[in-house]
């Protein structure tokens, strides 16, 4: 298939461009996932189970549904997200792929951004499937452009920090246990802002009240992409 050729052509002797290198990492991840489908299927089934649990934990009747939908969605994405982030890094570590990636004559940050994009892609795929399912199950329209934008902004911040921290946690003894513990306290601003903004769109709140949360999400995304970009090198260094 075409994907294999592109992946292998990303390793010529001459130094490939930054964007090409990022794209090669993304393609590698997507191609691997397309064959095994283990990551996406696990994330998806897990998300649906989380929603099922919330259904009984919160008694999602029409009244409560309105106020808690945003919270349920983000809790689901956050939990499913750690599952995906863990797996995506564990694959690299287990079979020594990370060492191979690090040997490639490309900038380390290209590897970081490649992993961020593929993690983001997995998260978005799960979200794109969970949203209609949730809409059907609870008869709520979730396809509002504003909400989709919030979900994108929130997922970017979440994966930007998550990718960095998962690269750290796979190198520890406790491994996948550690990621949520490291990630949740630092990603809290994203969750607060995303829940508030999503809730705003779902209840049709005035734009002037949603705007501060969107700004906060953008600020978080920019700050943490920059921070992770600068520190990723220290995390994968041997």
């Amino acid at each position: 298939m075409a994907t294999i050729e592109v992946t292998s052509s990303a390793r010529p002797a001459s130094k490939p461009s930054f964007i090409k290198a990022v794209w090669a990492v993304v393609q590698k991840d997507l191609a691997a996932e397309l064959r095994s489908r283990e990551l996406l299927s696990a994330m998806l089934v897990f998300s649906l189970l989380v929603i099922l649990i919330f259904n009984f934990a919160l008694e999602l009747d029409i009244k409560t549904r309105q106020s808690v939908t945003a919270g349920v969605l983000w809790a689901t994405f956050a939990f499913a997200g750690t599952l995906g982030l863990n797996r995506s890094m564990a694959i690299e570590k287990d079979r020594g792929c990370l060492d191979g990636l690090l040997l490639a004559p490309v900038d380390r940050s290209a590897i970081y951004f490649g992993k961020v994009f593929s993690n983001l892609a997995f998260m978005m795929i799960v979200e794109v499937i969970v949203l209609p399912v949730y809409s059907v199950l609870y008869n709520t329209n979730l396809f509002l452009p504003g909400l989709l934008m919030v979900i994108l902004l929130g997922s970017v911040g979440y994966t930007a920090v998550g990718t960095l921290l998962s690269a750290m946690s796979v190198q520890t003894r406790t491994r996948d246990m550690l990621l949520p513990i490291l990630l949740f306290p630092v990603v809290l601003p994203v969750l607060i802002a995303a829940v508030k903004a999503s809730n705003g769109y779902l209840t049709g709140t005035d734009m002037s009240e949603i705007m501060p949360w969107l700004n906060l999400l953008i600020v978080y995304d920019v700050v943490f992409i920059a921070l992770a970009f600068m520190t990723f090198e220290f995390v994968v260094e041997e």
């Binding site: 190198q171 550690l178 490291l182 630092v186 906060l216």
Partner: protein
Amino acid sequence: MQKKPAALITLDILAVVLLGIATYLALVYAPTEAVMGQVQRVFYFHVANAWVALLGFVAAGVAGVVYLVTKDRRWDIIEVAAVEISLVFFLIAIILGSIWARPIWNTWWTWDPRLTTAAVTELIYIAYFMLREGIEDPERRARFGAVYTLIGSASAPITFFAIRLFRTIHPVVIGSGDPGAEGTFAMTSKMLVAFLFALFAFSVIFIDLFWNRIRMGWLNDKVEQLKLKVAR
């Protein structure tokens, strides 16, 4: 075995004496606040503890950056010392705050920006120690620790801001009668003396503990090196 430097021993003694004087000033010297009564005396130690702990967290963040730049082990020892002591000081500040909040706010806890950020900060630095615990290679442990302190100290202020935003948009129901984190009671000059002295005393206590902890880190390092030598 290195002997404990005389300056450090002096500082140890000074710290204990200052703690004693600060306790006297807070409990006896300062007048009882008219509205809140005796429980207001918690304030002197509460603020001092929180203030010193915050400084410690900032110091840890700076030490983390310096470590990443210089790769000098000493900065890692300083970073751990700062985080460890600040974690305890902050916990004390939270507990003291709760003791005060119970009669004044009528609840042990509210999800106000300061309280929430304090709780999240504690969780971040507990996670920090769990991260370090899981890594055997000391060099990697130091590197990851520094990166995580950096991420944590960037995230905590944003959390504070996020929760404050949350409060400004939605009117506060619980704790709307709160006397403000500082100053709806006017401090008398005697209170001010007790307060400033507590601040000073806890700063000295922090420095003393910090120094001791750094020294311990050093000795720990040495022991590990000697162990490696023997094993060889």
